[in-house]
């Protein structure tokens, strides 16, 4: 039981401005987005440098040091398919405010990222999928078990594996949403931490309604026991939803100004 953790997702190479800033090693745009997310309540900042096959190690080191040195060692989530880049990032990472998160392992090709996290005393996001979307929760929980065992065998604490149920897009997979919520409940009943790319649920919806759906999914997921989410905290309502849920779940004591602190 702890306060809900927002992982800010905006430093992502899918955005043109971020891609350019990373390529040119231009600090300004990255620091601006990091600040906006921290101000909006992000406890962790995700740093997605994409596949970064060429200069991933150097880029991740640069990004980690840049963000941590400017924001009081804010903890980071290192997000890339390049494992060497994650290790390079961890090598310069300051743990004063929290362990680094490896984003991410799955039960398939990327299962070795659990080993990487274990070797580096990091948290690991464990995506409950092998190849594609799991057919049902039996399959999800089988992957969950596989990854949990792998982590424990490597000496990890169970709390350092954050299980991702794989949030699915409503437009196309509307009938699967309740199942995702039930998966979160299953993680929670096992006492496990969880996270995920929650805004995926509203993918393809008109921009002006995405945040409404995201906020609803967030609140419902938190009630099911979700302990963290990778979201855009600057989106309207996200911070307010999370803070209100923390109050309702008695994770923090109420005060009239609770949204301001």
């Amino acid at each position: 039981m702890a306060k809900f953790i927002i992982i800010g997702e905006r430093i992502h190479c899918i955005s043109k401005s971020m891609r350019e800033a990373m390529a040119k090693r231009d600090p300004e745009p990255i620091l601006k987005l990091a600040k906006a997310q921290i101000d909006a309540g992000a406890a962790y900042i995700d740093v997605n440098i994409g596949p970064a096959e060429k200069d991933g190690e150097d880029l991740m080191k640069w990004a980690v040091q840049l963000i941590q040195s400017n924001f009081d060692n804010v903890p980071l989530c290192l997000d890339t398919a390049n494992r060497k880049a994650i290790e390079a990032g961890i090598s310069v990472y300051n743990r004063a405010k929290g362990k680094p998160i490896v984003n991410s392992a799955d039960a398939g090709d990327r299962i070795e990222n659990i080993d990487l996290a274990a070797a580096n005393e990091a948290i690991c996001i464990a995506l409950c999928s092998k190849a594609g979307i799991p057919a049902d929760n039996d399959e999800r929980m089988q992957y969950c078990q596989e990854m949990l065992e792998r982590g424990l065998m490597q000496g990890m604490e169970a709390e350092d594996l954050w299980f991702d149920p794989l949030f699915l897009v409503i437009k196309g997979m509307q009938d699967k949403q309740v199942e995702v919520l039930e998966a979160i409940k299953l993680f929670s009943e096992m006492g496990l931490n969880s996270t995920g790319g929650l805004s995926n649920v509203s993918n393809g919806m008109p921009k002006d309604i995405r945040h409404i759906v995201n906020n609803a999914m967030l609140a419902m997921s938190i009630q099911c026991g979700l302990t963290s989410a990778i979201v855009n905290p600057c989106e309207p309502g996200i911070k307010e939803t999370v803070r209100s849920c923390d109050i309702i779940k008695n994770e923090t004591l109420y005060a009239d100004s609770f949204l301001e602190i």
Binding site: K3, E251, T252, L253, Y254, A255, D256, S257, E260, I261
Partner: protein
Amino acid sequence: MPFKKPVQKYSASINTVELGTGDKKIAIGGESVLPFYTFDGEIANAPKVGIEISDLGMAEELPGLRAYYDGAESVADIAKKAASMEGVDFVCLKFAGADPNGENKPVEDCVAVAKEVAEAIDLPLVIEGCKNAEKDAALFEKVADALQGKNVLFLSAKEENYKAVGAAVGLAYGQKVGGESSVDINLAKQLNVLVTQLGVSSQNIVMNLGTAAAGYGFEYVVSTMDRVKAAALAQNDAMLQMPIIAPIASDCWGVKEAVVSEEEVPEWGPVDERGICMEITTAVSCLASGANAVILKHPESVKTVSRLIKELI
């Protein structure tokens, strides 16, 4: 199987707040464990005991208490004597005479008394108002100005006057601000948020969560203190990590057990002893629930409570 003692130590801690200056300055708070849980971790600053005196002198007090201050004429004399009693860590000067519904003494007179008292003693000083929000705000501003550099704690900023008190006491004159929230845990946190938002450092705030004499709704006081400490330590709530002060003297000496004469209720025994018992019982209960400082009136209770603390920590 050998017994392994579980340790309950938190990564969060209560803020350390210093009061007074020089050799006699004191620090309250700083611990990362529950009250008196020295087996879980160090408590660097043992709870402190203050003695309360009034700007009205001793005239209204019970004869038993008056006897301790024989020969002390002025408030400054009384303060000097109070400071010399066994176990006293700080002196609390209460401006009961400022009350608009009582003597309504002008602010300037109170400032003069505060200055005399501050001159007379070298122990840290706590200033308590008359509980009238408007008068206290005016009074605290002038006294805080007059006592600049003395690192004085003012009791208290309330919901009605926190802006004026926080701005004057905490910001303009760099003194310590007490936030008072009559046994309302959400208000306790809210006041800390508001005073902090004014710009007062959270390291300069002390909480008065509201008090009661033991037996008079005291369980609310205890559960409030418990919940505050739990939030501060277990939930790392920065807006509840301020140390707690419990000015319990007026509560304890206002209940019937402490004031009804022996002639009226012979089976209760001597009146002075009853008040002392009430004060000790209440103080110890507050300390066990997390108070980092208590303010008492009777030298006997001050001595007893202070000895108890020294025995335990």
